[in-house]
Amino acid sequence: MTAGAQRATLVPDPASEDAAIPVLAVSAGSETYGFPLSTVREILMPPPLTEVPRSAKHFLGVIAVRGEIITLVDLPTLLNLEVLDRQPLGRVILVDVGEELIGVAVDRVVQVSQLQPDEIEYASTMSADLSEYVVGVARVPSQSPGDADEMVILIDPRALLGGLT
């Protein structure tokens, strides 16, 4: 799959009747992040982690998944976000970032949301200074009734690879 195609998954297809974009929402640190579902290969119980000395702080280390070595990334650190209450590593999602798979460490998987294009506020239209990895944000209804809507930070997997190498 090309990186371009992945990006397109967060941009509505005008030709399509059903323009909803499936997004996997995961929580890490204090935030909820969304990845285009088409780029998520697998959700794993965390395998043993091997730290790599001398690597940047947002790399948690490497894991072995069926013989392949996968780099595990900590999203809040990468996005310079503060984590108030750090949880033990809950799940690893394997994301296709174009040329390879990378592992993203998350606390838990929240849900798969079908986002309508008008529910997404694209970064390009916002005045706020957002990380280059962020496509935009979206509000999704909370799972626990009565709570306020959840804010999902939508991640661009292609930009992620570009920023990590």
Partner: protein, 690 residues
């Protein structure tokens, strides 16, 4: 492993077979084009020419005399064909197709020298030559669409033939002028005719006719090409010279039948007969080998790795049943089976590795020509001496080695070996010697490129490094002679100021070093002025799988390629001294620099200093001791890349799966050496994080 001589032979056979197959495929395309009366693409003919040319070259090297002889004859024929000197016709295609069968039979012979076993080679070569010298005769040729006559065509010079074709292509009409000339003034008369013709027509050729003429005069037939309409031309000539007749284009002239009689009768009978007893053999592949994409072997190796993981999981499951008296008998049986399985697995691994091995001769063989050529260009006399061409290495490494070695060889001729004059003056043999040596050393292969030339001037290297700002004058004071020689590996410093066509192409020794380092090897240099230079490249035999010493530093497992490890000794912290800011210990009277991996990687050591170990590693001609916490043991590991995200982290060649998803980072020993000794880059990350 089989006899290396045999391997070389097999390599040749595989390559020759491939060339013959390519030749056969291309000939079919050529034939197809011919049948459709199309001109074959020049690239196709060039491709055929190259196959035959390469075959000739390698046949010569491996003593396949007859293959070489035939290829040589074909090469000439194909050369004619591609230069347009010969035209494609059935006789030509016949001999070409015949060559495929002949090559295959000759390659099937046990003994390449066996002349008796290869009948008819000379006759076949004669047949090839006769096809080549036959004047172009075939239906695609415009010449044969005119009734010019074979007698005329056969005496045309190459240039005349070329002009004739060109005129026809330009749509000019051909005429035959018969004119009688006075024998005593024939030269002047022809000159006069040329002047008359000049503007109206081109004289292609003139020949004496067989009919007219007597003692004083001769009748010439002049072949003319002209745009002037026939009546005008006739009016122009028929008064003073003779008769003019147009040569008609014969659109429906049946093509001249393939001139089979031009092949000597003797050769005809030697064309392959269906009942030929060797006919069957020629249809089969001669060499029992297949060519496999190296990535498929990597995949296989991955499967082996997975199998090993399954095996260890089974072992754990079995261990879980231990102590249950009910299963005692089955457990013993399972244990026995498990060990058998492991043995087979390790055998499988060895076999796959063996498949990847090819002799270094594969690259060395390319250098003979280069050395000759380079020596000629520089007007030097160089003798190439190769030893250890049978030394086997991983195919990937051999491929990767070609460019760096080429550079070293060219450097040696360009900068190393002196001109004949200089050598004579120095009382050296006029002919310089360039030696390429390869040999095994432990689990490494050592390749030396050695010349008996002028050697390197260490002081000059230092001066140049300083003048180019690669080194401060101050720092250059402390350099040993070896340090100065090593400066040659710095980017931007080549051994000779003037750019030469041989090695001055912007690729320096730094690129050679980088390429070798990337393969997990090291380069070292030894040079004596006036005596010569020796560059030594040390490389692991294979990249895919390595035997590693598993160690711990703090809580982490690391793998150290055993090829680099010389020995492990207990660490004695009280013996550590500091020399020029570097920590060293003394081992058997020698000073050994040491590097604490816990400190380097910013890890907290898990053991008290006095119970740690020093792993003494050796790369090229340098030694370094790594201080580690624990020795776990030796293991065969498959090194996997860390991927693009972590490729910029220095010091690790990759990670190895030790089973149970437990990973060990594989230390990149050459990089760590280079970091420690050359201090190319500082180590900010570890210090900052510690």
């Amino acid at each position: 492993m089989s006899d290396p001589r045999d391997n070389v032979q097999q390599e040749f056979l595989a390559e020759a077979q491939e060339l013959v197959e390519a030749l056969s495929r291309d000939l079919l395309l050529l034939d197809e084009a011919h049948q459709r009366a199309e001109r074959p693409a020049s690239s196709l003919i060039n491709g055929i020419f190259r196959s035959v040319h390469t075959l000739k070259g390698i046949a010569g090297m491996f003593g396949y005399k007859h293959v070489g002889t035939i290829a040589h004859a074909l090469e000439d024929l194909l050369d004619d064909l591609r230069l347009g000197r010969a035209e494609i016709g059935d006789p030509l295609l016949d001999v070409l197709f015949d060559s495929v069968e002949r090559f295959q039979r000759l390659l099937a012979l046990e003994d390449p020298q066996a002349a008796e076993e290869a009948p008819g080679v000379d006759a076949y070569v004669a047949a090839v030559r006769s096809v080549g010298t036959q004047p172009a005769v075939e239906d695609g040729d415009p010449l044969h669409q005119y009734a010019i006559g074979q007698a005329v065509l056969s005496v045309l010079t190459e240039y005349e033939e070329h002009r004739l074709r060109a005129c026809i292509r330009e749509g000019m009409q051909l005429y035959r002028l018969r004119a009688t000339f006075d024998l005593t003034a024939i030269d002047d008369s022809i000159e006069a005719l040329r002047d008359v013709v000049h503007d109206d027509a081109e004289i292609i050729t003139y020949l004496p006719s067989l009919e007219g003429g007597n003692d004083e005069s001769i009748e010439l037939v002049v072949l003319l090409a002209s745009r002037v309409p026939e009546p005008e031309l006739k009016a122009h000539f028929e008064g003073g010279y003779g008769t003019v007749e147009a040569i008609e284009e014969q659109k429906h002239l049946p093509t001249i039948p393939p001139n089979l009689t031009s092949i000597p009768p003797g050769a005809q009978s030697l064309l392959p007969q269906p009942e030929d007893e060797m006919g069957q053999a020629s249809l089969r592949s001669v060499a029992n080998s297949v060519r496999v994409d190296i990535r498929k072997l990597d995949d296989l190796m991955n499967v082996v790795g997975e199998l090993a993981l399954v095996r260890s999981a089974v072992g754990r499951a079995v261990a879980g049943l231990d102590g249950d008296p009910k299963h005692r008998h089955s457990l013993r049986e399972l244990d026995r089976l498990g060990r058998g399985f492991e043995r087979q697995l390790s055998e499988l691994r060895t076999r796959i590795l063996d498949v990847r091995m090819v002799p270094l001769g594969q690259v060395f063989s390319k250098f003979g020509r280069i050395v000759r050529q380079a020596a000629r260009e520089h007007d030097k006399q160089v003798r190439l001496v190769v030893t250890g061409a049978n030394t086997e290495m991983d195919k990937l490494i051999v491929e990767e080695l070609a460019d760096p070695l080429m550079h070293l060889v060219r450097n040696a001729i360009d900068h190393g070996i002196e001109s004949v004059d200089t050598r004579m003056r120095l009382a050296k043999p006029a002919e310089g010697t360039l030696a390429l040596n390869a040999y095994h050393k432990g689990r490494n292969v050592v390749i030396e490129v050695e010349d008996d030339g002028g050697g390197m001037n260490a002081q000059k290297l230092r001066e140049r490094a300083v003048s180019r700002g690669l080194l401060t004058a101050e720092a250059s004071q402390d350099l040993t002679r070896q340090d100065m020689l090593n400066l040659v590996f710095l980017p931007g410093l080549s051994t000779n100021v003037e750019v030469t066509d041989l090695s001055g192409r912007g690729v320096g020794m730094d690129v050679v070093k980088t390429n070798i380092l990337r393969m997990g090897g090291v380069v070292s240099i030894a040079s004596e002025q006036g005596i010569g230079t020796k560059i030594t490249v040390t490389l692991p035999i294979t990249l895919a799988i390595i035997r590693a010493l598993i160690i711990t530093v703090g809580p982490r497992l690391f793998a150290l390629p055993i090829s680099a490890v010389r020995e492990a000794i207990p660490f004695a912290p009280q013996d550590v001294r500091t020399i020029q800011g570097r920590k060293v210990i003394t081992m058997r009277g020698e000073t050994l620099p040491i590097c604490d991996l816990a400190r380097l990687f910013g890890l907290r050591g898990a053991k008290p200093q006095e119970s740690r170990f020093v792993i003494v590693c050796e790369m090229g001609n340098r030694e370094l001791g790594f201080v580690v916490d624990e020795l776990v043991g030796q293991e065969d590991v498959i090194t996997k890349s860390l991927g693009s995200t972590l490729s910029s982290v220095r010091g690790f060649a990759g990670a190895a799966d030790l089973g149970d998803q437990k990973l060990a980072l594989v230390l990149d020993v050459p990089a760590l050496f280079s970091e420690y000794f050359d201090g190319a880059e500082a180590l900010p990350s570890a210090e900052a994080r510690a």
